[in-house]
């Protein structure tokens, strides 16, 4: 059933206090590192100091002999996993690679790669034991840069990696794992038709998701094999499945419990510590707790991919695009699986271009395996395309927003990757940006304004939700998707709307893997859409049951009962004359009318509406230092229907802030030996509160007809436009075009010097 019409919405669109808020602001919420158990051991990881080396031997005798050490594990404690591809959190994953990423087998492939782990009675003893483990390495040449890694003579990471997607099938191994391509129309004819052609090369750095909470877990394996995992992740069903796979045990043996999560942004759609803790708990029969340090997070977990983006655009003098081409080279890290596919599909998604071609390369190098990060792949390609579009606008003498408006994709336009757009709100975001007062604000010396747009698909997928009515007429909503961005509040809102009760009378929880049906992880901006659909349907089932119970109490047909404002009402004069029955009264009598009232629904939600955004950014550049101050930022986004507007705004503001960090400061710095030199927040500079102004959000509500309340995913597209918006603003301010990220003070200062000061 649909409730998109706002006349049906009394709770949806309001801003109640989040149900997990008090615990979080008073420090009582239990995050991954807060779990403590009797007899618990502490686990630590021994990590490689080399970017690329063959493991000759691992000597653990001294560590095992240290008093307090209870277990040591190396690759020998994990079953060999055959090469088997599956689609996991953010994209394709090979379980053999996942296993080897958690624990190196024959080679280490990056500085920080795990080679052993220890469980001991204290963290200090575990660390000391790690120091006592001696690993004999044969150090190999390494490669960090993506284009260096693509060269035929580059050091090879995997002898058995042959480029997929090329004809004929290669006979020589390569660091290029895959080539992928999309074409539309006749690209050569499109460029011939153009009055102006522009061709540029851009690059952006791999960056970390920089979640505040490091990875943490506690795993307890009992003597009979039954195992409980508490961990901070974006999907406890994902944790359960991957641990079972990597250790060769039945899924039914594992119960995974979602801890509160202190940020994920895609980076917690993989496992790192859990299989190690599980292996050591099985060895010792005691719970094992593992918590990463910040340095380990940087050295050992997946950043977002960095990329080189080559863009070529052709246009008529009036700004109409006739052709567009891009070549994308994406960092995958140590194992294949960069988000180059989505990067290709997102590159030109905002525009109606008759002739287009995108070619993408997935490239391995001696860096940690990449993980998802908000809209994985899209920010990289969009930074190049949206910067190049700005350069084209400059060349044509056309306002950059007008150029976007002229070429905006609309309903009925066929996207480069195939689908014909339906019910999209891109043009509405451009229109709203154009009319925003921000566009009229005067700018001073060394100040400039940039605009950029972005797209993300959003997904649906498998979700389960249960709705239970308590004896006093309150309700519990249990879901299988961890709450990262306030989803419990949104679930409570949707259930309250259907049940017709105040949202404060609905208690939303995240249930463990043994208490609710399977749910795919929290990612892809899918939870408010997909789990919201399951929650809505579970509440609808409960309402149907409540109507039956009322009918039983009144001794009339269930068809003669309707549900409104949290009460059962006779459907009309023919139904009889009864006082309305509130939910609490029906709940109180549920034992006499058939038993407890509850329902669980599992869905595989389809029809997630795509997300589009257009951002406006004002900067001021200090030409002496190269420092860029963000003066004002406005993010316009098609959000479908905002279930809880504060959290939609929060998602947009968070995505923009992370995008500003990617634009201005964030990067991994490696020394000549391939060792990471800045694995901490002092040297890896994320934006902090004084770095950003209050980010203004404009929610364009173009309801998604495939969701009962019209919701679209909102958490990813906000990170797509900022890099180009900032770069375009810098160029507008001082006439210096930055084509490589980050645009940090030393780099910008050098560019200003090259430009003649």
């Amino acid at each position: 059933m649909t409730y998109i019409s706002k006349e049906f919405q009394k709770v949806v669109g309001t801003r109640p206090i989040r149900p997990d808020g008090v615990d979080k602001v008073t420090g009582k919420a239990n995050f991954g590192a807060d779990m403590v158990m009797p007899g618990m051991l502490w686990g630590k990881v021994k990590r490689s100091p080399h970017a690329h080396a063959r493991i000759l031997a691992i000597h653990t005798e001294k560590a095992r002999a240290l008093p307090g050490v209870k277990a040591v594990v190396t690759w020998e404690d994990f079953p060999p996993i055959p090469s088997e591809e599956a689609f996991v959190g953010e994209g394709p994953m090979n379980f053999r690679d996942l296993s080897r990423n958690c624990m190196a087998r024959d080679k280490v492939l990056y500085d920080g790669h795990a080679v052993a782990a220890v469980a001991a009675t204290s963290p200090a003893i575990a660390e000391e034991a790690c120091d006592l483990i001696q690993v004999d390495y044969h150090v190999l040449p390494h490669v960090i840069d993506v284009e260096e890694a693509m060269k035929p003579d580059a050091p090879l990471l995997h002898d058995d990696l042959f480029t997929q997607g090329v004809d004929p099938k290669p006979t020589r191994a390569s660091n290029v794992a895959k080539m992928i391509g999309f074409t539309k129309g006749d690209i050569d004819a499109g460029f011939r038709e153009a009055d102006v052609t522009i061709e540029r090369r851009y690059s952006n750095a791999p960056v970390h998701q920089a979640y505040i909470e490091p990875h943490a877990c506690v795993v307890s394996a009992a003597a009979d094999g039954q195992t409980t995992i508490w961990s901070s992740s974006q999907g406890h069903f994902m944790v359960r499945a991957y641990c079972a796979k990597l250790l060769g045990i039945d899924i039914s043996q594992i119960r995974a419990i979602a801890a509160e999560i202190g940020g994920g942004f895609g980076g917690k759609t993989l496992i790192y510590l859990e299989p190690l803790a599980l292996a050591m708990s099985r060895k010792t029969g005691r719970p094992v707790k593992m918590v990463m340090s910040r340095e380990e997070v940087f050295r050992g977990t997946g950043p977002a991919a960095g990329a080189v983006i080559e863009v070529r655009l052709g246009a008529k003098k009036d700004g109409r695009l006739t052709a567009a081409e891009a070549v994308l080279k994406y960092q995958a890290g140590a194992f294949p699986g960069s988000p180059v596919g989505p990067g290709c599909m997102c590159a030109f998604a905002m525009y109606d271009i008759p002739n287009a071609k995108v070619t993408g390369y997935d490239v391995v190098s001696n860096r940690p395996k990449v993980a998802a990060y908000r809209a994985p792949g899209a920010p990289n390609s969009s930074y190049g395309v949206e910067s190049c579009l700005d350069e084209l606008a400059d060349q044509l003498g056309i306002d950059p927003l007008a150029l976007r408006e002229k070429n905006a994709a609309k309903d009925g336009v066929k996207a480069l990757h195939g689908p014909t757009w339906q019910n999209i709100g891109y043009a509405a975001t451009v229109e709203a940006a154009k009319n925003h007062p921000h566009m009229k604000e005067p700018l001073g010396p060394n100040q400039g304004r940039g605009v950029a747009s972005g797209f993300w698909f959003n997904i649906g997928g498998e979700s389960s939700a249960a709705c239970h009515i308590n004896e006093d007429g309150t309700a519990v909503v249990a879901v299988g998707t961890p709450d990262i961005g306030g989803s419990r509040a949104s679930m409570a809102i949707m259930a309250a709307e259907i049940l017709g009760i105040p949202v404060e009378r609905v208690r939303p929880i995240v249930a463990d893997t043994s208490s609710i049906g399977y749910s795919f992880l929290t990612g892809g901006s899918r939870v408010t859409f997909a789990t919201g659909m399951a929650t809505t349907q579970a509440a609808e089932k409960v309402v149907e049951e409540l109507k039956k119970r009322a009918a039983m109490i009144w001794d009339i047909s269930p068809d003669a009962v309707e549900w409104k404002d949290g009460k059962a009402w006779p459907a009309g004069p023919n139904a009889g004359s009864f006082e309305p029955l509130p939910l609490a009264e029906i709940a109180l009598k549920s034992g006499r009318t058939g038993g407890p009232i509850s329902a669980e629904v599992s869905v595989n939600a389809q029809g997630a509406g795509p997300g589009f955004a257009t951002h406006i950014c004002d900067v001021e550049v200090d030409k002496e230092t190269g420092y860029v101050k963000i003066l004002r930022y406005t993010a316009v986004q098609d959000v479908g229907r905002a279930i809880h507007p504060s959290y939609v705004e929060g998602q947009i503001q968070g995505g923009v802030t992370q995008g500003i960090g990617w634009a201005l400061n964030e990067e991994y710095i490696y020394d000549k030996d391939g060792r990471l030199e800045n694995p901490g927040f002092l040297d890896y500079r994320v934006p902090v509160a004084p770095d950003v102004p209050m980010i203004d959000t404009v929610m364009v509500e173009n309801a998604n007809p495939r969701h009962p309340f019209g919701a679209r995913g909102v958490g990813e597209v906000p990170i797509v436009p900022p890099m180009a918006a900032v770069a375009n603003a810098i160029n507008d301010a001082i006439g210096v075009r930055m084509r490589d990220l980050p645009m940090s003070p030393p780099r910008l200062r050098a560019a200003i010097d090259r430009n003649g000061g």
Binding site: E85, A86, F87, V88, G89, E90, G91, P92, Q164, G165, D167, K178, M179, I180, G181, F182, Q209, G264, F265, G266, G267, T269, P339, G341, P342, M345, A372, Y373, R374, A375, P376, H417, G418, P419, T420, W421, Q422, W456, F457, N458, I459, G460, G461, G523, G524, S525, R526, N604, Q606, G607, A608, R706, G713, G715, E716
Partner: protein, 82 residues
């Protein structure tokens, strides 16, 4: 008859280079079965690593999706997210 466009190069290795195919089927499941019969291995490839756009709407899993004679089906890389 529904028209299938295979836009990812990975899938093309199964079809001998053909990127557009006509397949008699009234559900997506039947379409996949028919494609796998014609091009052994393509069905598994679609199941494990591809999403589908049917008449403009992207499905991650579309066995139940109904097809019309004029339906246009694009097979594209599966989409995840952060």
């Amino acid at each position: 008859m529904p028209r299938v466009v295979i836009s990812g190069q990975a899938a093309r290795r199964f079809t001998g280079g053909a990127t557009e195919l006509e397949v008699e089927a009234n559900t997506f499941r039947r379409l996949v079965l028919e494609l796998d019969r014609r091009f052994p291995g393509l069905g598994r490839q679609i199941d494990e690593s591809m999403a589908v756009a049917i008449d403009g709407e992207i499905f991650q899993d579309a066995y139940l999706a109904q097809l019309k004679p004029e339906s246009e089906i694009y097979l594209i890389p599966k989409i995840g997210g952060g």
